[in-house]
C-alpha cells in the first residue's frame, strides 16, 4: 500500500465521476471508509443497496460512492459509479494497513536447495524445505512451512502459520490465511481383517491464480492424481476439501463447508456456510447451495439447492420432530383414508342413486 489517495485520485482510480459539494476540496485526503451511518467527515462512504438509501441524507461522510440515479440526493460530494459495491471493494485496497516484515528474517530456515526469489519476504521462524520455490514478491509469513518441492506463485501471500506439504503448487496472487493446511494426506484406508491399512496419498494439490483461502482450512492431497482448485476461487475459514476434489473457476465456498473425496464442484458455484457435498458427486456450474445443506447426489443443472428443517422454539420443535419418525406411517394412513373415502363416496353415490 502506498499513501492514501486524495478525493480526486480516488475518483480516478475507481473510474468515478467526482461531483464536489459546495466548498469541498478535491485535494482532501480521506482517512478511510465507513458506512453511511458511521462515517465521520474525513471518511468516504458508499450506497450499494436500496436498504441504506434512508441513511444518505444524514450522512457526515466527506464523499459517497453511488450511482448517477441517486447522486442528486447526496448531501455531500458524490463519487458517481456504475456499481458502487464493486467500487467500494476496490477502494478498500487503498486503506488496508496489513503489515508484513520485509526481507528474509534471520530465524527463517530456508533449505540450501530451495529457491526463494530475491523480492520475496520470509517471516520469522518460517521453514522452506528442499527444492521448494517461492516466486517474486511472494510473502511467506512467520512460522509458515513450505514443504519439499512445493511452489508458491509470484505475488502470493501466506499469512503466519500456513503449512503447505511437499509437492503442492499455489498459483500467483493468492492469499492464504493462518493455520490453513494444504496437502495433508487424504483419508484413505483399506479395511483388512478388522483393521485399516493406510493408502499412502501419492497425489498433490494444485491451486490456481488469485485464489483466497481462509484460516484453519484443510485441502488434502490427492490419493493418486491431484486435488485441484480453479482460478479465482474464494474459500472461507474451516473448510474441509478432501482428496481429489475439483473446484471450478470463480466458485466461492463459505465457512465450515465440507466437500468429500473426488467430488467435483463446477465453475461459479456458491456454497453457503456449513454446506456439505458427499463424495464422488458432481455439482453443475452455477449451482448455489444454501447454508448447512448436504448434497447427497449429483446436481445436473444450475439452481439453488437446500436441505434441513426450520428452527423454532424447542417445545414446538420437539412436538414436530417426533412426528418426523412417523412420517412414513402418516403417509400410508393418509393414502388409506383417501382410499376409504373414495369407497364411501362411491357407496354413498350408489345409495343416493338407489334413493
Amino acid at each position: 500500500m502506498t499513501d492514501k489517495p486524495t478525493l480526486a485520485q480516488l475518483a480516478e482510480q475507481l473510474g468515478a465521476r467526482l461531483r464536489l459539494a459546495p466548498g469541498a476540496d478535491a485535494g482532501l485526503v480521506p482517512s478511510g471508509l465507513n458506512t453511511l451511518q458511521d462515517a465521520s467527515d474525513s471518511q468516504v462512504s458508499f450506497l450499494a443497496s436500496a436498504n441504506y438509501r434512508r441513511f444518505l441524507a444524514g450522512t457526515r461522510a466527506c464523499a459517497v460512492l453511488l450511482t448517477e440515479e441517486l447522486a442528486a440526493e447526496c448531501p455531500v460530494s458524490a463519487l458517481v459509479v456504475d456499481d458502487p459495491y464493486y467500487a467500494f471493494a476496490r477502494a478498500t485496497s487503498f486503506y488496508d494497513t496489513a503489515p508484513h516484515a520485509p526481507g528474509i528474517h534471520p530465524s527463517a530456515a530456508i533449505h540450501a536447495d530451495a529457491e526463494v526469489d530475491a523480492s520475496a519476504c520470509v517471516g520469522a521462524g518460517a521453514v522452506i524445505e528442499a527444492r521448494a520455490r517461492v516466486g517474486a514478491g511472494a510473502i511467506v509469513g512467520a512460522n509458515c512451512v513450505v514443504g519439499g518441492g512445493s511452489e508458491i506463485g509470484a505475488g502470493t501471500r501466506l499469512h503466519a502459520g500456513v503449512i503447505i506439504y511437499h509437492g503442492c503448487s499455489i498459483g500467483r496472487d493468492c492469499i492464504v490465511h493462518s493455520h490453513t493446511v494444504i496437502g495433508a494426506d487424504g483419508f484413505g484406508f483399506a479395511p483388512h481383517g478388522g483393521q485399516w491399512t493406510k493408502i499412502h496419498q501419492l497425489g498433490g494439490v494444485e491451486i490456481g491464480d488469485e485464489v483466497e483461502i481462509g484460516a484453519c482450512t484443510c485441502i488434502d492431497r490427492g490419493a493418486l492424481g491431484n486435488t485441484v482448485i480453479g482460478r479465482g476461487v474464494k474459500i472461507d475459514n474451516q473448510v474441509q476439501i478432501a482428496h481429489n476434489v475439483r473446484i471450478g473457476d470463480y466458485s466461492a465456498i463459505a465457512a465450515c463447508s465440507a466437500i468429500a473425496g473426488s467430488a467435483t464442484i463446477g465453475n461459479r458455484c456458491t456454497l453457503a456456510g456449513g454446506a456439505g457435498v458427499v463424495g464422488h458427486v458432481t455439482v453443475a456450474d452455477g449451482s448455489h447451495i444454501t447454508a448447512r445443506t448436504l448434497v447427497t447426489k449429483s446436481i445436473d443443472s444450475a439452481g439453488s439447492y437446500s436441505s434441513g428443517t426450520p428452527f423454532s422454539d424447542s417445545r414446538n420443535w420437539r412436538r414436530n420432530a417426533v412426528r418426523f419418525g412417523q412420517l412414513d406411517e402418516m403417509a400410508r394412513r393418509l393414502k388409506d383414508l383417501e382410499r376409504r373415502l373414495e369407497i364411501l363416496v362411491a357407496e354413498g353415490g350408489q345409495s343416493r342413486e338407489k334413493e
Copy 2:
C-alpha cells in the same frame, strides 16, 4: 499455582465448613480431585448432582464437597458448601499443573518496537511484531504470532501456536488455546463480471476480559468496524466467528458452532455444539440454542430454540426422509380430505334429514 492446600486450607479457600470424619486430619494434603466412584483416599471428591448421590456411601475419597443437606450421609470428611459444583470448579485451580516456560526464550523474535512487560513470558519461536504490546504477567506460548500493533492484556495466556493478526486487542485474564486465529480477513468479496473482487477487511477484533477461547477457533476481523467479543465469554474449539459479529457478555459457545457475518448474540446466551447463526440476525439475551440448530431469523425473546430431525436406524430414517419431500403434497391432500369429508358429512346429514 503454588503448593497444594491442606484440607483446612482448601476449606478456607472455598469458604467451606470442614466437618472432619473421626480420626481424620485437617492437615492432610489431598493429592487431587476425582469422582465419587474413582477417588482414592488421597483425593477430594464432590457431589453436585442427585444422579451421583448413590455413589456417596461407597466413596473412598478423603473428603467430599457437598451441601449441608447431604453432609449427614457422607461417610468421610465433608466440605460443606452452598454450591458444590462451583466449589469443585474453584478447587480445580489448586491442582492444575499446566506448565509454561518462564521468561523470554532466546529464539522468540520480538520486534524492537514491541512492548513486552518485564513480567510477561514469551515462548520459543514466538513472534511479536512491531508496536504490539504484551501486558504484565501475560504468557505468549511457543510459536505464537502477535501481529503489528495488537495488544495482549495483563494476565492473559496464549497457548502455543495462537495467531493474532495486526490491530486486534485481547483483554485481561483471557485464555486462548492452540492454533486459534484471531483477526484473519472476513470473507468479503464483491461480484463483478463473473469474478470476485476482494473487500479488504479494515476493522479489527476486540476481545473483553476473562474470555476463554478453545483450539482451532477463528474470529475474523471486521470489514469496517470491529468484531466484538464481550466480557467473560467462553468459546470452545473449532468455532467460526465471522466479521463484525458481536457476542454479548458471559455467553458460552460450544464446539463447532458458527456465527455468520454481522450477527449479534446477546448476553448470557448459550450455543450448544454445532449451532449456527446466519448473518445479520440478532439473538436475544438469554437465548439457548440446542446442538446443531441453525438460527435463520432473529430471536426476539429468551428461550430454547431447536432445529433438525431425530436420528434412527438408517432403514427407518430413509423411509421417513423420503416423505419429507412429499410433505407439502401430503398437507394439501390432508386438507382436501377434510374438505371432502365435510361435504360427505353435510350430504349424509342432508340424506339423514331426508330420511
Copy 3:
C-alpha cells in the same frame, strides 16, 4: 522409503502371483500407481470394484492387481491377489515420497530435561518441553510443540505444526497431521452468579498405537480422567473430540465429525463426515453413523444410523420445510379424520342397515 521395487519384488512384497504378459519383464521397475483409465505403461494399476471392470480391457498399465477370477481378462501382466484393494493399499507405501528433514534441526528448542531418542528427528522450530520423551525413529515436524512430560511413541510421525499439550501420550507408529491440537482444555465451566468459573482440566489424553489423525483436529484433555483413543483408530481432518471421550479400537471417524464430552464410541465403529454424538452417550461396537447424523441417545446394538432431511431445489424444499413446523398439527388432523371417517362408516353402515 527405499528404492522402488521391480514387478517381481512387488509381487513378493504383496504376496501376489505374478502372471507376466507375453514379452513382459519381471525386472521392470514401475514408476508408480494409477487408475486403470489413467495409468501409463510404466504404472501399476488395480481392479478392486466391479464398477471399474469395464476399464480393464483398455488399460495401458504395465501390470494390474486383481483377483484370480478376473486375471484371464487382464490384457497386461497380472498381479493376482485375494484382496486387490488391500494389496493396492500396501503397494502405495512403496511410492510415498513424503520427505522429512533428518536429525535434529539446530533451530529446534529441546529442553535439557527432555529425552529425545538418538534415532528420532526433530524439525526446524520445533519445541520439546521439559520431561517430554520422543521415541526411537519418531519424527517431530517443523514448528511442532511437545508439551511438558508428554510422550511420543517410537515410529510416530508428527507432521509440521502439531501441538501436544503437557501430560499426553501418543502411541507407537502413529501419524498426526499438521495443526492438530491434542490436550487443550476441555470446555468445562461452572455457572455462578451469571458468570462462568473455569473447571481446570486435570486429566490428559492417551492415544493408542497405529492411530492416524488428520489436520486441524482437536482432542481435548480430560477433566479428571483421560480422554482415550484406542488402538488403530483413524481420525480425519477438523474432527472435534471433547474431554473424557473414549473411542474404541479400529474405529474410523471422518472429517468434521464432533463427539461431545464423556461420550463413548465402541470398537470398529465408523462415523461418516460431519457426524455428531452428544455428550455422555454410548455408541455400540460396530455402529455406522451416516454423514451429518446427530446421535442424541445411546445406541445399544450395531447397525447403521441416520438423521437429517434430503436436499432438493430450494423452492420445493421451502414448501416442504414450512410443513415440518405443522407436522404435529397434521398428525392430529389425520387422527381426527380417521376418527370421523370411522364414525361416518359406522353411521353409513347403520343407515345401510336401516335401509
